[in-house]
């Protein structure tokens, strides 16, 4: 992918970093998964672009609930987009 096409994804990555250093600090917490949800979002955006990255990150956040087991889960393990 060319750099220009990647720009929207980088914007998303930037937003995740903004979250990490603002709300993420104000509301401390952990994550049941490895990598953490925010890291997953960054990786997913880098690997799959803005739209698919956002969908993957959103789906991950929904899975990161009290009823899930957590565990190791990398974006490249996803089965949503092939």
């Amino acid at each position: 992918m060319s750099t220009v096409l990647r720009l929207p994804a980088y914007l998303g990555v930037g937003l995740v970093y903004v979250y990490r250093y603002t709300l993420g600090v104000l509301f401390p917490g952990g994550c049941k998964y490895h990598p953490s949800c925010s890291q997953y979002a960054i990786d997913a955006l880098r690997e799959y672009g803005l739209v698919r990255g956002v969908i993957l990150a959103g789906w991950r956040l929904l899975r990161c609930n009290p009823w899930s087991l957590g565990g190791v889960d990398y974006p490249h393990q996803q089965r949503l987009f092939k």
């Binding site: 250093y21 709300l23 600090v25 104000l26 509301f27 401390p28 917490g29 952990g30 994550c31 049941k32 998964y33 490895h34 990598p35 953490s36 949800c37 956040l61 929904l62 990161c64 609930n65 009290p66 899930s68 087991l69 957590g70 565990g71 190791v72 393990q77 089965r79």
Partner: protein, 270 residues
Amino acid sequence: MIVFSPLSPLEDLLRNVLEWFHGSIGLPWAWAIVAVTICVRLLMVPLAVKQIHSMQAMQAHMPEMKAIQQRFKHDKQKRNEELMKFYRDNNVNPAAPCLPLLVQFPVFIALYLVLRQFSKHPPGGDLSWFGSLVPDITAHANAHWSGYLLLAIYVGSQLASTYFMSTTMDKTQRTMMMVLPIAFVPVLVNFPVGLVIYWVTTNLWTVGQGLVTRQLVPKKPPPAPKRSSRTPPKEAAAESKDGAEPKLTDEKPAAPAQPRRVKRKKKARR
């Protein structure tokens, strides 16, 4: 200028809740904010209970976890992976999930919007907190000396709540989480005092919940049966009694760091 904001329904909802606490219950605005905060945290208590149960269950697995941590002392990523696999295999997970955390954000943002609105068009009623100590909760925190006092309390409560929340974080991350609230103070002085009240309340709740959790979860794992270096391990003892070659039995305990389930999962992948 009227700009439609996707957050305006949220703002209206929170405003109605605050007005209900203020009008029907008769709480001053500041205490209405505290009440809303407590309601949000009360709704989240069942999630905390689930986590406490998980932490209690985890106590039994402490030695194995320590072993994993020791084995991958220098490889953070591998250590996290192995720990997560271990949690999954044993059906425990001490870490808090991310989703409930997100529940707080909309409330927080809506409160910011409502307070901003209040400072433009003050609603009727008392906008102070503790009498003359905090004169106006819609004013910026740097408008009155009490704002700085509240910010100091905020930093303290934030550090304490980070201390209780960060069970699985590594050291560098933890240090950063401890430094950032202090670095934030120059930014926070421009926030309405009411928001700082929200923060302080929710942090103090976290601390209280953390203290209760610590009470419920024993710090030391239940004492394991003592084994001296001279006593052979159970399986070895059984085998030596048989006198024959070691047999593979179903009861053989699985090695903790070798999750079979993960392997199976890989095969199942398309």
